[in-house]
């Protein structure tokens, strides 16, 4: 190898090494700034106490209600996006003819490209007053509103990944099923979907990760009350919203500042676990 070849090779190594550096940079900065919060509270208290009063004297750093808030909106979002996204995937891959397909796919892609802050605006300025009117609620910015908006945001993720997986199912499986007398619906439910199971599960987990980490929508739409909700119509304050809302008002280096990084650690761990699960699903499928 001459010098130029070696240089080129080295550059590709350095570039890909950067991805590892960035990942470690993220992890290190979270832990470096987040761990000091445990000088002021215990891990158990941090996670299982529901009192989040970071500016009181003495402050209380319990994030249980924020964690619960995150899971409530995320599950609410999945309840909407799984049927809609999976439905769209099955329809485009199994039923729609080519023309319909060519209209549907760009629609889903457009949906994926809409910035989250514009969804937030829609939830705040349009959906919230609408919900107040329809359901006679005192406040329109609540877990329900955030679930709807987040749910719509996750639809493109679930539908595009599920559809990829459905389209890799060999045609002869469908033909065999149809030849045995099963109709289209039975073929979809009993042959195609089970065969595409790992891809579908993958899409749902990725959708979960997207929904639990989404910031702007829950910041603008979820209502911002750090409490464990009694109903889906209560305002809540999910983890990302807390970090985004309070970081700007906190002096660097204060216990509150470290507590916000502590929340980010928990958030990172949850998303990291979901990523590991998808890796595991993919790996098992390869075997």
């Amino acid at each position: 190898m001459n010098f130029k070849d070696k240089l080129f090779n080295t550059i590709t190594y350095i570039a890909s090494f950067c991805t590892i550096v960035f990942l470690f940079g993220i992890i290190l900065s979270l832990f470096f700034e987040g761990l000091p919060v445990f000088k002021f509270t215990t891990i158990k208290d941090f996670i299982f106490n529901k009192d989040w009063y970071p500016t009181m004297n003495p402050p209380k750093f319990g994030i249980l209600s924020l964690i619960v808030g995150s899971f409530v909106v995320t599950l609410g979002a999945l309840a909407i996006s799984i049927p809609l996204g999976l439905g769209a995937a099955i329809y485009t891959s199994e039923i729609a003819n080519k023309k319909v397909k060519e209209i549907l796919k760009p629609i889903i892609e457009l949906l994926a490209g809409i910035p989250s802050v514009v969804y937030g605006l829609f939830g705040m300025a349009f959906l919230s007053p609408l919900l107040i009117k329809v359901f006679h609620l005192p406040i329109g910015l609540n877990a329900f509103n955030a679930s709807i908006i987040l749910g719509i945001m996750v639809v493109p993720i679930i539908s595009s990944i599920s559809e990829d997986s459905l389209s890799t199912i060999p045609q002869h499986l469908r033909e065999a099923s149809l030849a045995l007398g099963a109709n289209k619906w039975e073929t979809i439910m009993k042959v195609v979907l089970p065969a595409a199971k790992s891809g579908v599960i993958n899409s749902i987990i990725l959708g979960f990760g997207r929904a639990i980490g989404e910031t702007m929508v829950v910041l603008m739409v979820a209502g911002g009350a750090a409490q464990i909700p009694n109903s889906i119509f209560d305002p809540i304050r999910p983890m990302p919203a807390t970090v985004a809302a309070e970081m700007g008002e906190t002096a660097i280096g204060t216990p509150h500042f470290h507590a916000l990084f502590g929340i980010a650690i928990i958030l990172f761990i949850i998303t990291f676990i979901s990523i590991l699960i998808t890796e595991f699903v993919v790996m098992r499928k390869r075997k």
Partner: protein
């Protein structure tokens, strides 16, 4: 028996249709609301003037400029890095374990919530490197966020180049580097660019990563250098909705800003979709 099966099938398939219809009608309602409420706000003055009287009058020109610089710089940073990483991931024997680690790193980066990128940018670029709250800090943060998208798109583009091309080039005596730079990359380039364009749309619309690294609510001045803080379109929408004392005047302006941002993002992704469609039609292999 068969009638029941037929009814089940009928109901099932129509439920799928209903779901599609719901999704599509939400999209149309959404676009209708944004464009009908914001469309009337957008005019020449709105696009070319600075905000006045604490955001209640004037335009969003500084925010457009800010988003432009943030986007250009972040893609300029992430694109070369992403392409080289994609080359690493796709070409020639590399140690398997290393490829595997890089793959996990990319997938993890792709799944990290955007607010965490914001904290990373705050810790590393703003404080450690002392870039302060600036275009540079924001663009680097956004660049790291865009990196996995660009890598994945480039990787897919490179993989779609037929193996014969590579083999032919190598058989003619070209080195790996020459093969990559003169045969594989030029063939994959349109697809790589499509990926880059898609990530432009993504980066331009991100808010959380620039909250603490680049964005400022109100400035009448345009940035003079990359070390200045800027207004940005997505952050401007958020700020108009949550700060300030005149919601009645700010909400229409937020809708107007949303129209500009959406038009930008939709335009960019439409361009990407059209380019990709053309490539697929023209391709001869």
């Amino acid at each position: 028996m068969t009638t029941i099966r037929r009814i089940k099938s009928f109901i099932g398939i129509n439920f799928l249709r209903l779901f599609i219809l719901l999704t599509a009608s939400f999209l149309f309602l959404f676009l209708y609301v944004i464009f009908s409420k914001g469309g009337s706000v957008v005019n020449w003055e709105f696009l070319t003037h600075s905000p006045k009287r604490f955001m209640t009058e004037g335009g969003i020109y500084p925010a457009i400029v800010g988003t432009f610089w943030l986007t250009i710089l972040s893609i300029g940073f992430a694109l070369p890095l992403g392409i080289f990483t994609a080359i690493f991931m796709t070409n020639f024997a590399k140690p398997y374990w290393l490829v595997r680690i890089v793959r996990v790193a990319i997938n993890t980066l792709a799944g990290v919530p955007s607010i965490i990128y914001g904290l990373f940018g705050l810790t590393v670029f703003v404080r450690l490197f002392k870039f302060d709250v600036s275009i540079l800090s924001g663009a680097l943060t956004l660049g790291v966020l865009a990196l996995p998208v660009i890598i994945n798109a480039s990787e897919e583009a490179i993989r779609s180049v037929p193996k014969d091309f590579r083999d032919a080039s190598l058989a003619l005596g070209a080195t790996k580097r020459q093969t990559i730079l003169r045969v594989i990359l030029p063939t994959a380039l349109p697809n790589i660019l499509t990926g880059a364009i898609i990530s432009i749309g993504r980066v331009a619309g991100e808010t959380a990563p620039i909250l603490f690294t680049a964005a400022t609510f109100y400035t009448r001045l345009l940035p003079k250098s990359v070390m200045d803080e800027v207004m940005a379109l997505p952050y401007h929408i958020y700020a108009l909705m949550t700060e300030g004392a005149h919601p009645a005047k700010q909400v229409p302006m937020a809708y107007g800003t949303a129209v500009v941002l959406l038009a930008l993002v939709l335009l960019v992704s439409t361009v990407a979709i059209v380019i990709r469609y053309r490539i697929r039609k023209k391709r001869k292999w």
